[in-house]
């Protein structure tokens, strides 16, 4: 690659799969990010220093041998890592995503993801400028107001969504049709002004909505 390229930031990529490391670093480079690769949480913890992490964001798989992504996240949060973290989860594993967000992740990506999904998440990570330990510390007044505007039923549905239930499961629990759940979900997203599901989960974490 030529020197004319302007870096959008440094990404600390933590994934145990060599092919994923190579693929994602190729993609990150093509999307104008710099990449540092770590094969595991232990690997990162062994190599970390301030020059490595300053101004960086972390992209980490939550399923790894050794120090798992979630565990790494908890450690970084406790130590005050000072950089944002985006976690990679399996498709549909909402409970894991919620746990990651509670542990301080700025966002989550469901594998496999597209380049635009990835850049959107990383852009959010950099622009949030929220170091890992401050995430979920307080809910903004706007967020509280938006949440208060939800009907009791919508709040109920939101809680079930954050618990990782599918529309079908929520429908059964609340004894309504899946279509009705879909409508509630849409209304919740628009009332909360959430652009996507990940953002809704993030808001729920900030609002400390628990299962």
């Amino acid at each position: 690659m030529k020197a004319a390229r302007v870096s959008k930031g440094k990404i600390l990529l933590v994934d145990d799969d060599p092919a994923v490391q190579r693929g994602l670093s190729a993609l990150l480079l093509a999307a104008n990010y710099d990449v540092e690769i770590f094969g595991s949480g232990d690997d990162f913890l062994a190599k970390r220093d301030n020059s490595l992490t300053a101004g960086a964001a972390m992209l980490v798989d939550v399923y790894m041998p050794g120090v798992q992504g979630l565990e790494l996240l908890e450690r970084l949060k406790k130590e005050g890592a000072g950089f944002p973290v985006v976690v990679m989860t399996a498709h549909g594993d909402v409970p894991m995503a919620v746990r990651a967000m509670r542990s301080g992740a700025v966002d989550f990506l469901e594998k496999p993801f597209t380049a635009s999904e990835m850049t959107a998440a990383l852009d959010r990570a950099f622009s949030s400028l929220q170091p890992v330990e401050e995430v979920a510390s307080h809910a903004s007044i706007k967020l509280q107001r938006d949440y208060a505007a939800l009907t009791p039923r919508e709040r109920e549905v939101l809680r079930e969504i954050v618990c990782g239930d599918t529309n079908k499961e929520i429908a059964r629990k609340l004894d309504v049709s899946p279509r009705t759940v879909e409508v509630h979900r849409h209304n919740i997203m628009s009332k909360m002004e959430a652009k996507n599901f990940a953002e809704l989960v993030r808001m729920a974490v900030v609002l400390e909505i628990r299962c």
């Binding site: 693929g23 399996a90 993801f113």
Partner: protein
């Protein structure tokens, strides 16, 4: 007369049986040697005393007095059995023969009573009747039906439980042939067995236990366990203990059903678990491949800074090898399903499908789905792996239920039929139908229209059906919904065999 008198005295004295002579009031005037031995009282102690006062037990006085008075007043002779109390307080039971002795005026002056001590006989009789009563109460209290028969097969005894079990009263069956208690097939076996028992005429104790089929009065047959033992008295008697195991069988069947459902539920669960772990296994190569390709795509768009072709080729090669890795995982999964220890056996297809339906439609009414089943009467057996075929059917039914979530009309029809010598299992729904986008690759892995689906169910189903030399395909259901059809070769060796 004097001679006669003294001769009579001597006879009375000499006989071994008790003889006593009483006056009109019951005072003893003669008390022979046998009386002395029996009662322990000497003649001197007895003579002149009233029998009522010391020999007759108080409770028996009224009855004895009545006989005494009758004998004295009416004359002639009477017989009566009553007890005497000995000096040591022991009771002796005596059968008395009484006779009035008239005086010269023709008036009964004395009563002569000669007795036989039957104490021992009576106590034996009582013991016998007591043990008979005990035996009969044991027989009647026995929770097992007891039927006794003679050598000819006629019923001699029929316990209360036998009445309960067979639905006949004892009076109805006594003397009848025992064959009325068994269906025709059992009668033949019974006759053979009886002949063998009788021919083996040795006096040996035997005990036989075997499963039989009983026949109730209402014509109903029931499974039972029969224990037979022989009892020899003056004739040969066979005692049969019949244990009705209908209840036991029903319990066993319920248990087996439950186990079957549990096993199935866990298999279905295992399939879901497998899908989850496969999902993670597949996510890695798919993520890598997508990243390589998008990296090339992004680079190619950079007009000011185009990538070197060699770099792009390396990335695309990497992408291809990751896609190969993904497909290898899928292939392994399919191999796993195919090579799984195939437990093919001859099963009744209707039964297999019915069992699968029972599991698959659990909760169907919660979704407002009404389920109809139609099993073709001409559908027989096939050589199949029951669990695998049931997985296929369950998968099709669950898909059908999912497809009808948004439908006004939710009607699920599961049917079997013979078609061109093949057995057809059809699962028809009134759901959304198959999206055109995935119609052509419906049975390929990861073709799915479900937001939370993996797209492995139908591809696994196809692997299973292929391994059975069958076919699986989908058609439209009258413009609303779809029909999935599984065709399996009919028969298999041992056609008509039991499904188990």
């Amino acid at each position: 007369m004097d001679l006669g008198r003294s001769a009579a005295d001597s006879i009375i004295e000499a006989v071994a049986t008790p003889v006593v002579i009483l006056n009109r009031d019951g005072e003893i005037v003669c008390f022979n040697r046998a009386c002395e031995i029996m009662t322990g009282y000497s003649r001197e102690e007895a003579i002149g005393r009233s029998v009522w006062e010391f020999l007759i037990p108080e409770g028996e006085i009224p009855a004895v007095r009545e006989v005494f008075d009758r004998t004295r007043d009416a004359g002639g002779s009477t017989q009566f059995t009553n007890s005497w109390k000995s000096k040591s307080g022991e009771l002796r039971v005596i059968e008395w023969s009484n006779r009035a002795l008239e005086d010269s005026a023709g008036r009964a002056a004395y009563i002569l009573a000669a007795g036989v001590d039957v104490t021992a006989v009576r106590s034996n009789e009582r013991a016998l009747s007591e043990s008979r009563a005990l035996l009969s109460s044991i027989i009647n209290a026995s929770p097992t039906a007891i039927v006794t028969i003679d050598v000819a097969g006629s019923i001699l005894g029929f316990s209360r439980q036998a009445e309960e079990t067979f639905g006949y009263s004892q009076a109805e069956v006594i003397g009848k042939p025992v064959k009325i208690l068994m269906p025709p097939a059992e009668q033949l076996r019974h006759e053979g067995n009886m002949r063998r028992y009788i021919e083996s005429n040795e006096a040996r104790e035997f005990r036989i236990t075997r499963p039989v089929t009983g026949l109730r009065a209402n014509g109903q047959e029931f499974p039972a366990i029969l224990h037979v033992t022989e009892f020899r008295d003056d004739q040969r008697v066979f005692v049969g203990f019949v244990e009705d195991i209908t209840e036991q069988r029903a319990t066993e069947r319920r248990l087996a059903d439950t186990q079957f459902e549990l096993r199935h539920a866990s298999r279905v669960g295992a399939m879901g678990e497998m899908a989850t772990s496969i999902a993670h296994e597949l996510n890695q190569p798919l993520t890598a491949a997508a990243s390589f390709i998008e990296a090339v795509s992004l680079s190619l768009r950079k007009k000011d800074n185009p990538p070197r072709l060699e770099d792009a080729v390396v990335l695309l090669d990497e992408a291809v090898s990751e896609i190969r890795r993904a497909s290898k995982i899928i292939r392994q999964m399919r191999e796993f399903v195919r090579k799984r220890r195939s437990a093919k056996a001859v099963h009744k297809v209707n039964k297999v499908v019915e069992e699968a339906c029972a599991i698959a439609v659990i909760g169907a009414d919660e979704y407002g789905v009404d389920v109809e089943t139609r099993f073709g009467a001409d559908v027989g057996t096939a050589s199949i792996d029951r669990i695998q075929i049931q997985q296929v059917v369950i998968n099709l039914i669950r898909n059908a239920i999912d497809a009808m979530q948004e439908s006004e009309e939710k009607h699920l029809t599961i049917s079997t039929a013979m078609k061109d010598g093949m057995i057809e299992i059809r699962v028809a729904d009134t759901g959304v139908g198959i999206p055109t986008a995935i119609k052509s690759r419906l049975f390929e892995p990861f073709a799915t229209s479900k937001s939370d689906g993996m797209g492995v169910g139908l591809s696994i189903s196809k692997s299973i059906v292929d391994a059975h030399q069958g076919e699986i395909f989908a058609t439209e259901n009258n413009e609303k919904g779809s029909i999935f059809v599984v065709r399996l070769p009919a028969g298999g060796e041992g056609e008509g065999g039991a499904s188990q």
